[in-house]
Symmetry: C2
Subunit: 379 residues, 2 copies
Amino acid sequence: MEQMKILLNDEEMPRQWYNIMADMPTPMRPPLHPGTGKPVTAEDLAPIFPMNLIEQEVSTERWIDIPDEVLQKYLIWRPTPLCRARNFEKLLDAPVKIYYKMEGNSPAGSHKPNTAIPQAYYNKAFGIKRISTETGAGQWGSALSMACQMFGLECRVFMVRVSYEQKPYRRMMMHTWGAECIPSPSNLTAAGRGVLAEHPDSPGSLGIAISEAIEDAVSRDESRYSLGSVLNHVVLHQTIAGLEAHKQLEKIGVYPDVVMGCAGGGSNFAGISMPFVRDKIHGKEVRIVGAEPTSCPTMTRGPFAYDFGDLAQKTPLLPMYTLGHDFVPAPIHAGGLRYHGMAPIISHLVHEQLIEARAYHQLETFEAGVRRQRKGHSL
Amino acid sequence: MEQMKILLNDEEMPRQWYNIMADMPTPMRPPLHPGTGKPVTAEDLAPIFPMNLIEQEVSTERWIDIPDEVLQKYLIWRPTPLCRARNFEKLLDAPVKIYYKMEGNSPAGSHKPNTAIPQAYYNKAFGIKRISTETGAGQWGSALSMACQMFGLECRVFMVRVSYEQKPYRRMMMHTWGAECIPSPSNLTAAGRGVLAEHPDSPGSLGIAISEAIEDAVSRDESRYSLGSVLNHVVLHQTIAGLEAHKQLEKIGVYPDVVMGCAGGGSNFAGISMPFVRDKIHGKEVRIVGAEPTSCPTMTRGPFAYDFGDLAQKTPLLPMYTLGHDFVPAPIHAGGLRYHGMAPIISHLVHEQLIEARAYHQLETFEAGVRRQRKGHSL
């Protein structure tokens, strides 16, 4: 019988995150202060993020220790299995082996707790009492709600309105973990009120929700903002998935020809791919491919430029592939892929041609999924 | 760091199911033919089930080989992890170790594929082309839809109406796997039409839905009925979970003081507990506890008596704890626990005082769940 799953025991879970910044072949452009146009300093970011996370954001250390408190939480569901999609291979009838990293078994149901837990931990360690954030489809909001509950922090989530209405169960999860969940745009912030004045029926966007969450965080004491994707420290935390996958493939003596992931802000894709990008930088032959929606085609259609991370221009200017900070994508099902920009790390690697990008329409992906369930016998 | 998960590799998955019938300390009463009142014969059951499953239903072999085709499908997600609920232990602040068997990671999201897959396999092997069944909350219906898709069988699911309305995503899963999903009571069967004539707004019950599914199956050629719980062969297939758990605890040198499971028709509870019941029969000290809803308290309030498995009295008379085949329980959230009877194997073991039963109100279980998420830090 063929092996269908490659498992790691608790003791085999990586104890460090991998920081691609140590291996970048060319220097990345720095984020710029929106007022002065100069590179942002740690002090500029201090009202938004706790200093320990700002240090991670700018770190160039290759390996960063995962704190024991975070490891203990990861062990609730990690390491995750690397599974072989044997029946899908048969469906394709092509001489390929397909493995997928199963990140959906976390308590919140996605890869997002990989960074939600350390972010809550570092905020708590820095003395923060309350976190504000935004969420698209609700994966990030529910993960951060859980993480805040784990470390005793208050949590307020601005959820893109179209997803708030489409996905009531995600709201229920956030409430169960004791967080507030507010449809965005809302009347609670100047940014939200501004949008509603012009578009009372706005379906919302991640760019708007980020503006609301930042405004909400910086207007209070002992309160900070948290972002579930895009930033360097988020990419760092997500590498736990790729490091495990790397180890799992090594165990069975396989090295991949292609590593793929879906990309909204880039955290899932970066998580699985960074350890393989590292190999590629050091000469290994491997294709790294990011898949994004045609309705929000940042990498495949956007220019590589400095842009804001949010609608209200509260974030630093980030060097990234972007469709413009005021872009409001169609209300597709995968609400988490509706971000106007792409993580600067991913953007830089696309620009350096170390990563390829492809865009797909949601209907063709749904059709492929159903076809796989129907003919491929459920993976 | 404490071990949080005990894993088994693909090769460590059990290759046989365990049949408690071989170890029963006292003989079980036989199912009776509803017309003659005599024990049912294999021929009586032949229009309802394929003969290979009827043979399993009456088998007294202790170990029954799992076919290779079924093993290969099990390996998509099995063996499942045995996890330690460390944070829940801390919340309880009691000197206990709590382990839970994680059956929610199957492609259909529950333990139900453990029997759906072999049932579809044996029907296919016997030349059957189409299966009808019922479902409460939708776990069984979605599992059987998937299994039928795997082996190329048509599938029609009668879903208890209240759940059909409460749980639209379960319907979508069944449709995705190519099955029909029909709210019950329906106009498609005489049994359904009979109920609707008297109660046009009937929320439905598993007893009604079973009548509809049996009628639907026996009125067609090359069509059979499938039941997701209650019967001996279902209990048999579900022992894969308990056999794994037994092996996993052995690996860490732990033997449980108490084995618990929630019980609707009994398949989940029987699956985890039968290998431990076997130990108990052979002298081991262990408590086996089934938890059921106060709104459908078969084991704790029902008499142990012969009763029909369905409203329309189409099934044999089964010896079981029962609230009466016309009992319609309140529309609680856990639709799968709303069955009027209890598996004859479980019932017999309760009657023989080898198994204890407890009833809980859904609100206290929800409160405990939320408390655990809030204070117990998500398991």
